[in-house]
């Protein structure tokens, strides 16, 4: 079976772990537990002609106390930058991480705007995602809580990796 290493990056508490939990186990937990270091899960994504096993590296969130570490990105087939649509700063932090990641990993990058079930910040609503189309290979509005667009995002990513 073909395996792919996928990294989830982003600011703290944007919902990276929740996205993985929703995708792998189909559940959501309101309780917030910060990830330390990295947590790895796996799930097989079945496409029409093929199956891919995603090794999902859920990497600790970055903030002023915890700088982006490139070490876990080595050998990644793709990475997902996760942002929180209720916090505009999370997108800015995500873009910074993206620019740092680009220097060490020349692989497809995806933007996931999470918490789509909550009210977005005003600035976010006005601007939209159009400006970031060129920066990312794919972008999605997701909700780890409701599961909206989560499976779809990973399936689209699998298709993208299969084509490349």
């Amino acid at each position: 079976m073909i395996q792919k290493k996928i990294c989830l990056l982003g600011a703290s508490s944007v919902g990276k772990t929740s996205l993985v939990k929703q995708f792998v186990e189909g559940i959501f937990n309101e309780k917030y537990l910060t990830t330390i270091g990295v947590k790895i899960d796996k799930k097989v994504v079945t496409l029409e002609n093929n199956s891919l096993q995603f090794m999902l590296w859920d990497i600790e969130g970055n903030d002023r106390y915890n700088a982006f570490q490139e070490r876990y990105l080595r050998g990644a087939s793709a990475y997902i930058i996760v942002a929180d649509q209720t916090r505009t700063t999370s997108l800015i932090e995500g873009l910074e991480i993206h620019s740092l990641a680009r220097k060490v990993a020349k692989c497809p990058a995806i933007l996931a705007i999470n918490k789509s079930d909550l009210q977005p910040s005003w600035h976010w609503e006005d601007k939209g995602l159009e400006d970031y189309n060129d920066l990312f290979d794919l972008h999605f509005y997701t909700s780890a809580k409701t599961g909206a667009n989560v499976d779809n995002m990973f399936i689209e990513l699998a298709k993208l990796l299969q084509e490349s």
């Binding site: 079976m1 073909i2 395996q3 270091g37 790895i40 796996k42 570490q69 070490r71 876990y72 050998g75």
Partner: protein, 593 residues
């Protein structure tokens, strides 16, 4: 370097080229073509030897040929299975036999191991210890049986941390090898980036990780890691073996490792190499202590003796109990409870007729000796045939002129006896449990003298009056407000019936007619009307009871007097009294005698 030296080198090279062109000329291809034509022959001549030498040198021929042969066999099975089957057909029988034999041997060994580990003391101890330590029993057994054992071997792609292949000692993968390999890589990356680079400028590497149950030996290579999970204390040779296998993998799968894109299909054939790392060393069993365990044997012997003694004792008690139970078969003896606590200690609770055999006599008769006999004996009146016979014999000792004979459980008495004596005998027999017509017939007892018949009328009249007097003295005493005839009253009524029966016989002989007057009385408590009713009821119940005994109702008259207002008796006059009314057959005179 000086210019003159450089010039000399260039010159020597030119000279070498000239020499080549002189020997081979411009047509060097002629030589290579000639060699190519003979290449098959040349290589064919040394091929076997070359393969042998290389295999001997580093064993790499096997590793190279293995996947090729496997693929060839796979192709052959897929496309030319008939040919393969035909070739293998002669071998199939013996192969199947060998396989079955091997399976049975393996099965027996596993069964023996299972019995050893489950039913022996050692096995049970290990189970308890494994439970206390919170580890699986199989793991604990492995830790006790092996000095070390390589449980899992993982081949991991260094860059991505993805699992390329893995093997297990028991072929049962309990842990998730994919996640383990990724996490190990993550930890390794963390260690490498977190610590300062070493003196050679290389990043720090994890080489050993120790957990409660495992030691992880990590051998990093440029493109792949080999990791072994070992239980026990791994020796250096495990580490060396891992290093050799890692190098072999890098040499055999160099291009696959370089071009790895997540597809681990190419590394399926690496399983054989990884299996070479599944090393183990069994613990040398401690020499058994061959000393005879005297203490244990003595304990067992003691236990057997105690057990045997208790069994014999129990059996003896059981036999004694059975023997004592036969006492119950004796006439006039009923066993209520028996308990044999020991051969010399017996608790016995019985009912016994005074004419029945005594317990001590019975024990003597049966040759039984009981030192501590706790006997509870209560007397009762038995109606067993044997006891009745004993009583009759005892009574008849005073009447030697009477002979007795049992016929259908009825005692027939015959002989000559004076009338008065007859009445006395009948009275004694009645008290001993005999009842006329039921189990006693005395019709064959005749008066002794002929002249007695002549002179007996006066005597009979005297006996008649005596009987009338006896009947008149009989009283039944009832409880307050009760008219029921109790069992003790029944005994009295039976006596009364016997008297009246004799009276009837005498009345016939004396030309008299008799009737029994039954008079119910009551005390003065309660209303007069109720007392009248109660006294009447007492009389009627008594009449009914006599009727059941055989007395005709035509010969009785029942009346109730109500309460008896006589000062001294009125408080306790709850009685039925009797009187006999007799009249002569001569209706003209109709005098009372």
């Amino acid at each position: 370097m000086s210019k003159s030296t450089e010039a000399k080198q260039v010159e020597s090279q030119q000279q070498l080229e000239q020499l080549r062109s002189l020997i081979l000329g411009k047509n060097s291809h002629v030589v290579t073509d000639a060699i190519q034509k003979e290449a098959r022959t040349i290589v064919g001549e040394v091929l076997s030897e070359a393969l042998h030498d290389r295999q001997k040198k580093d064993g790499s021929v096997n590793k190279v040929l293995l996947p090729i042969v496997e693929n060839a066999v796979e192709d052959s099975v897929a496309h030319n299975s008939d040919r393969l089957v035909n070739s293998l057909y002669p071998l199939m029988g013996s192969l199947v036999r060998k396989s079955v034999t091997a399976f049975l041997t393996d099965f027996m060994e596993k069964t023996n191991q299972l019995i050893d580990s489950s039913l022996t003391f050692k096995g049970l101890t290990w189970r308890i210890k494994a439970w206390q330590a919170g580890v699986k029993f199989s793991q604990y057994v492995a830790s006790q049986t092996f000095v070390y054992r390589v449980e899992h071997v993982f081949l991991i792609h260094r860059e991505t941390g993805l699992l390329l292949n893995s093997v297990n000692f028991n072929n049962t993968a309990k842990s998730d090898a994919d996640l383990i390999s990724s996490m190990l890589t993550a930890i390794n990356d963390f260690v490498g980036d977190s610590f300062l680079d070493n003196e050679d400028g290389l990043k720090e590497q994890l080489e050993t990780v120790t957990t409660d149950n495992f030691t992880l030996l990590i051998k990093p290579g440029p493109n792949a890691l080999v990791v072994a999970a070992v239980t026990g204390k791994p020796p250096q040779k495990v580490s060396d073996k891992l290093q050799i296998i890692l190098e072999s993998i890098h040499s055999l799968y160099a291009s696959e490792l370089m071009q790895f894109n997540g597809d681990n299909e190419a590394f399926v054939t690496a399983e054989n190499l990884l299996r070479d790392c599944l090393l183990a060393e069994q613990k040398t069993t401690e020499p058994k202590n061959n000393k005879t365990p005297w203490f244990a044997w003595l304990a067992v012997l003691f236990f057997i003796i105690i057990l045997g003694f208790q069994t014999v004792k129990w059996w003896e008690n059981q036999v004694l109990n059975d023997k004592l139970m036969t006492l119950d078969h004796e006439s006039g003896v009923v066993i209520n409870h028996i308990e044999v606590q020991d051969h010399n200690k017996v608790v016995l609770d019985i009912l016994r007729d005074p004419d029945a055999i005594s317990v001590s006599d019975w024990l003597q008769k049966n040759d039984l000796t009981i030192e501590q006999l706790s006997l509870t004996e209560r007397l009762y009146h038995s109606l067993d045939l044997e006891i009745l016979n004993t009583r009759a014999q005892r009574i008849l000792l005073e009447y030697p002129e009477i002979t007795m004979m049992w016929h259908s459980k009825i005692l027939h008495l015959s002989g000559t006896l004076a009338v008065l004596k007859s009445a006395k005998l009948l009275s004694a027999l009645t008290a001993a449990g005999f009842t006329l017509e039921r189990n006693l017939i005395i019709e064959d007892i005749k008066p002794p003298f002929a002249n007695e018949a002549i002179t007996s009328k006066a005597i009979k009249a005297q006996i008649f009056k005596d009987l009338v007097g006896r009947i008149s003295t009989i009283q039944l005493e009832f409880p307050v407000a009760s008219a029921d005839v109790t069992p003790s009253m029944q005994l009295t009524l039976q006596q009364l019936y016997q008297y009246f029966h004799q009276l009837n016989q005498l009345a016939d002989q004396l030309d008299l007619n008799v009737g029994l007057v039954i008079i119910g009385c009551s005390d003065n408590s309660g209303s007069i009307a109720k007392n009248t009713l109660l006294s009447r009821q007492r009389g009627e119940n008594t009449g009914d009871a006599l009727n059941l005994l055989g007395l005709s109702k035509a010969q009785m008259y029942v009346t109730g007097l109500g309460q008896i207002d006589i000062m001294k008796v009125k408080n306790n006059a709850r009685k039925v009294i009797f009187n006999v009314l007799y009249v002569s057959n001569d209706e003209k005179t109709n005098n009372e005698m």
